[in-house]
Symmetry: C2
Subunit: 206 residues, 2 copies
């Protein structure tokens, strides 16, 4: 009975392979049995390295969130304003399209009350920090930053989710549609920063 040379890190790495091999539903379909098969080991053996399937999912999620964050930050260094926002959104979308399973993992929300989710929570906040930095470059008033962050996250995340979920027909035009959406968001954020001209729409404030 030879050893398989597993370790917590190796198990997580194999889990990532399973997620990547499963397409957009790779994360939802992540199973200890599949990881064990890839490791050449019986399923219960994994418990020597991992607490539970939930733990493994959590670790995969944190890695994915950090990768997404890193993609965003590295895409925006040396850029500002609309340029930076485009680069950030493009980086997010590219990551999602290149690693749909991992991206799905990032959609999981951390439980605000669960201490086990503390790392996950911190990773999410770190990710938001990138967006905040980029948007601050637009000179937004502090109380509007949160609105802008939410709008950008919602737009990009929604687009990518719909795209991955086969929500769009006419594949060819998807890039253009994404550009259009981004232009809307950039213009909207810019308008939030400088609400003086006659183009204030109907929005008002509350």
């Amino acid at each position: 009975m030879p050893r398989a040379g597993l370790s917590p890190d190796v198990v997580v790495r194999l889990a990532l392979e399973v997620v990547d091999a499963g397409g957009p539903s790779g994360f939802a379909d992540l199973t200890l049995a599949k990881v064990a098969a890839r490791a050449g080991v019986a399923a219960p053996s994994l418990y020597k390295h991992v607490g539970s399937l939930a733990d493994l999912r959590r670790e995969v999620t944190v890695i994915a969130v950090r990768e997404l964050t890193a993609a965003g930050t590295s895409a925006t260094v040396g850029r500002a304003g609309a340029d930076a926002l485009h680069a950030l959104a493009d980086a997010w979308r590219r990551y999602a399209l290149a690693h749909p399973g991992r991206y799905a993992a990032t959609q999981i929300g951390a439980d605000p009350d669960d201490p086990a989710d503390a790392v996950h929570r911190a990773a999410g906040e770190e990710s938001v920090r990138t967006v905040v930095s980029v948007l601050r470059g637009f000179g937004l008033p502090d109380e509007r930053v949160v609105d802008a962050v939410r709008a950008v996250r919602a737009g990009v995340h929604g687009f990518v989710t719909l795209e991955l979920g086969a929500g769009f027909r006419m594949r060819e035009d998807v890039d253009q549609s994404f550009t259009v959406l981004l232009d809307m968001l950039v213009a909207g954020v810019a308008a939030l920063a400088a609400p003086d001209p006659a183009q204030a729409t109907t929005g008002s404030d509350r």
Copy 2:
């Protein structure tokens, strides 16, 4: 040995109860065992009324998509332009917040090749039709309609998804953030209709 008085429709109704009782993950957590428990029946008995769990999910999905569509259309009758778009988006968001489990069901994409998904596919197209109608009121050129539809769907869907997934802290400001996002989308769609940089809001020419 008494009969439970089940029928396909009753089983679907019970499934909807299970989905509704399960919060945002109610659809993902839908299980034949739970439906059977609610019906007061052993799980295999359900197969007299339903082909499989997948079938039951499909039926739930179609109902949810149709309800979401109906919420959108009924909210936009007699409205046009920015008014209609606001009403449509509000209706979507209200539906999602009121029925998070059913809304999650609507996120499932129909398989373009699976004949069993034909009804699902049709329901989805019907839903898109509402958005197209509303956006046509902005006088968009035909080739931009698809971009606008995608932007609006992405923005609203992304926002609601993040909101349901506990992606937002500071609950109080969420309504305002949604309004801000909608204003961006309205202005963006209007700008698509009238691409003069001068005025970005009045989209009612043509």
